[in-house]
Amino acid sequence: MGDFLFEMSQWLYTTPLNEFAQRVSESALSEWILSWFWTIPVMQTFHILSIAATLAAILMLNLRVFGLAGHATLGETAERYTRVFWWALVIVIVSGVSMLFGDTVRNLLNSVFWIKMVLVIGGILLALGYANVLKRQTLMAGGGVAAGGTKVAGIFLIILWCVIILAGRWIAYAPS
């Protein structure tokens, strides 16, 4: 696995992404971000807190889907926590993009970063589908019980989000 990640990172250096990353890292915004030592830790704090919000939203939604928590209907719970999820996701993306300017080369030419990006897109699409299915099921069943497939999707979504967090931490440790 380590060899594959290393080879992938080495390949990224041979692509036009290398020149692009170097150019971005010399931009005024990158230099401004790097001019203060604490900019990146502050951005990371926002990033972590917003991911915590997305994780908590998925967790609470799943607990309601499995009937383990929540006192509102499935539809109300879905509406409440998907709203939290989408707003938190906006902050995840804004803080993530901002951090990219602070360490462009290490991120853009890092195999684990791109794996994380693919997982994030998958996670967003799955969350979209999950929210839509929950709304439809609520309308059909009148706010009661989630179907078996929905429960599987819920478990998969929370595992996927944990893997995204894992990839996020491993960017710093990936062989390159």
Binding site: P41, T45, A52, L55, A56, M60, A69, I165, R169
Partner: protein, 169 residues
């Protein structure tokens, strides 16, 4: 070979557990991932109750029911964060104990715990009398605000540790 330990923290760091984690290529990052996921769960679930206490979110929901839903997860995740955090600490005990951000993080966690303890022993006991009111008592709002502030700064300290670990001797 590791030098002879001169204090308790070096003794912990040079222990077989400490050196095993420190020398492994994958152990520290993997434990760190567990720590981050656990801490995110702690903060995310605590924030659900705190945001209700300060009147920002879940306004139509009883705070006692929200707490009942979230607390088991908060405590479970906190236990996991404590164990994983302990393992991370063992691998660099001496470096952590001279790092002001680490000491700050521990102090803030103690304050967050005291805030929660005080709230549960005082204001929370009368929750059934005020949780249906449109506005909560100032003591409940204060506990919510303090908790949110403590946890946000705890996360910042956690990140600051990573950036300053090698600069204190």
């Amino acid at each position: 070979m590791y030098p002879e330990p001169t204090n308790l923290w070096e003794r912990i760091e040079y222990s077989s557990l400490g050196t095993t984690i420190a020398e492994s290529a994958w152990m520290f990052p993997t434990i760190e991932v567990v720590h981050v996921i656990a801490l995110m769960t702690v903060i995310g679930t605590i924030a659900i109750v705190d945001l209700r206490l300060i009147g920002v979110a879940s306004k139509g929901h009883r705070v006692s029911l929200l707490a009942k839903d979230t607390l088991p997860w908060t405590w479970g995740a906190f236990a996991l964060a404590a164990v994983s955090g302990g393992l991370l600490f063992v691998s660099k005990a001496h470096s952590y104990m001279i790092n002001p951000w680490f000491l700050g993080k521990m102090a803030l966690m103690a304050l967050a715990g005291l805030n929660m303890l005080y709230f549960h022993m005082t204001t929370w006991r009368t929750a059934e009398h005020w949780e249906l009111d449109p506005s909560f008592p100032p003591a409940a709002k204060l506990a919510g605000w303090l908790s949110l502030i403590f946890w946000v700064v705890i996360v910042f300290c956690g990140r600051a540790i990573g950036y300053t670990l090698g600069i204190y001797y």
